[in-house]
Symmetry: C2
Subunit: 229 residues, 2 copies
DNA sequence: ATAGTATAGTGTACAATCAACACTATGTCA
DNA sequence: TGACATAGTGTTGATTGTACACTATACTAT
């Protein structure tokens, strides 16, 4: 079922930068390409936009197909259409970035035997096409976003310690933060619910557990705030 | 010279939200459509992306062709591809927003006799397609941007009074600001050069003239800052 | 000329936030 | 049981945010 147009049209794709957080690093989800060009190279999950689906639907569909990830926080990042970025033909790609809880998603490779794996953002392999640049843009956007929108809910488990939350901010901002000032700031925001239990976290240390006050969290997400610390 | 593809492809366009500032309002530049659909309705300047030009080049070309505007500050806003947004066929549009000095550009209509005119952003007519929504997004983006990036340079003449700068912020943020606090804040930023001349501005009042310290202005544009006032 | 009007310009005081900094208590592991 | 790693906690000085009122000057209309 081929189609004929009066003028040539660029092909349209979506690509997703999927961020997750573990005990060490901010991670990004990559898939290994099975076909040329760049066969064997790691790349962002993505693919062609169908003519009857919205851009965001296309992004979610590709994520599901290639990595098994269902519900996620997904936001448009940037659209890149530099001629020559795909050696085959003119391809314009709408890049999205997603935030997921690592524990929520057991990543499975796509059915066509391509690998999917998590990489530390600062230690990712060279990527296919201009995906390095897209990844860098996404990281930069996340860094910017964190300054005026809370992001913890999307990346942390339902119960977490303040240390984990601080770790998230340190991973995203790529610098260390003062523990006391961080706690003061976060608590002043009033988005935390103190669960008042002491459990042991991953490293078997006792720590107070928190969750987010969903209402206040959403309000701050809409209104924005100033996170300079 | 028609082209055949294996699968149908969305058409790809660019649209530009062009902001300007005059003594009363924040303005937006619109063109009146000459052809169906929405013939006679006002719309954002824009058009199809050619297969060999970058997205930004396409935006600049359309601006030049339809309004005569050459060099401008131009930044990508968002890409919209909701199926059905164009009644003819699936069209994905990459929206840009531009900031121009009103005085720099005598707007001329395109050669195909379509009108071009400035409208107050808060008093724009109903637009063609989903351009109302794009305009609202652009205004929102500008409002957000102004909180952490300086925007005066792109919208004001080379010499301006603090009152004009304040007026710009008031127009973009859509609220009044305290004169003394505004002056303190801006001056503390250190991006102004006091020209130390008293001239008469538009309203024939004497006022001190300033210009931007280009170096510091650019640094703040890169680094960002906190503009809460 | 003069009275009325519109605008520019200026300072203070209180509150909130930022930023720097060190020690104790407790659980873990060898 | 000793060494080590982590959680938790407060104060102080500097900076910034915010609220608020009056004078001087230029222009306008009579």
């Amino acid at each position: 079922m081929s189609v004929t147009y009066e003028y040539p049209r660029p092909a349209l794709t979506v690509d997703c930068v999927v961020f997750g957080l573990d005990a060490e690093d901010l991670k990004v989800l990559l898939i290994q390409r099975g076909i040329e060009p760049f066969a064997g190279r790691w790349a962002l999950p993505g693919g062609f936009v169908r003519v009857d689906e919205s851009l965001e639907d296309a992004a979610r569909r590709e994520l599901r197909e290639e990595t098994g990830i269902g519900e996620v926080f997904l936001e448009q990042l940037y659209t890149i259409g530099t001629p020559g970025r795909d050696p085959r033909e003119r391809v314009v790609t709408v890049a999205y970035y997603a935030l997921v809880k690592l524990s929520d998603h057991t990543i499975r490779a796509a059915t066509d035997a391509r690998n999917a794996a998590w990489f530390a953002v600062d230690d990712a392999p060279p990527l296919a096409f201009d995906h390095d640049r897209i990844l860098a843009m996404a990281h930069e956007r996340l860094r910017g976003k964190v300054r005026y929108r809370p992001i913890g809910f999307e990346l942390l488990p339902p119960k977490f310690t303040l240390r984990q939350l601080q770790h998230l901010y340190e991973a995203v901002l790529d610098r260390t933060l003062d523990k006391r000032n961080f706690r003061k700031k976060i608590i002043r925001m009033g988005i935390l619910v103190d669960l008042d239990e002491i459990e042991t976290d991953v490293a078997h240390r006792a720590a107070r557990l928190y969750s987010f006050d969903k209402k206040k969290y959403d309000r701050m997400t809409r209104q924005g705030f100033n996170f300079e610390i």
